[in-house]
Amino acid sequence: MEKGRGAGYGVYVAVFAALLVLTGATVGVSYIDLGIWNVAAALLIASVKATLVALFFMHLRHEGRLVWTFALVPILFLALIIGGTLSDTLFR
């Protein structure tokens, strides 16, 4: 098998299987009433799935610091936008 970017098909299929299992898990959990923890569980599972897609399907794990920066800084900005908006709307 080639090194680096030419990852084998097996890795992709394994990630795909993990994504299917996590989708099943998030649907399953949604049928159980956990109150606020339903939201936490759904967002946690979604974030694990997003991380898998980014690392493997989008090949982020093989990328250098520059690409990582371009991937992560927008998330930071989104957090700032959401935080900034809520700091207003929650306290009116």
Partner: protein, 139 residues
């Protein structure tokens, strides 16, 4: 990111402001169809990844196969979405019904347009990974 980021922010603000509305409305969404579409998109993300792996190994025929599968899956996704929307309309649920359905139609519509245009494929998958639980699973 900016486009969807703004909608995500609006979703959070209104969800915190009108929790009862979100709870009352989200039960109208079909969890099974949403989950089915999640599987469709994840599979299409896999076929794109496999297509890229194929062409790196110089296998052009496999590339064509995987890309055709991806386009087919995009068609399936949009067909399910179309079916869901027409069902909502038949039940008198429109973008103007209330804030939840405004957000639902806006977010899934904008996402559907990205699927249709075939813009950066895995990104479409990433957005849906969050849209599905936000709209269909938690209320």
């Amino acid at each position: 990111m900016l486009l969807f980021g703004g909608l995500f922010t609006a979703y959070i603000v209104f969800r915190l402001k009108f929790p009862e509305m979100f709870h009352k409305d989200f039960v109208h969404l079909n969890r099974v169809l949403g989950a089915a579409n999640t599987v469709v998109l994840i599979t299409s993300s896999l076929t794109v990844a496999l297509a890229i792996a194929s062409i790196r190994k110089g296998k052009q025929e496999l590339l064509k196969l995987y890309l055709s599968l991806t386009i087919l899956l995009a068609g399936v996704f949009l067909a399910i979405k179309y079916f869901e929307w027409t069902e909502k309309f038949a039940h008198g649920l429109f973008p103007g019904t209330d804030i939840f359905f405004s957000l639902y139609f806006m977010m899934t519509g904008l996402h559907g347009l990205h699927v249709l245009s075939g813009l950066y494929w895995h990104f479409v998958d990433l957005v849906w990974i969050y849209l599905f639980p936000m709209l269909y699973l938690i209320g």
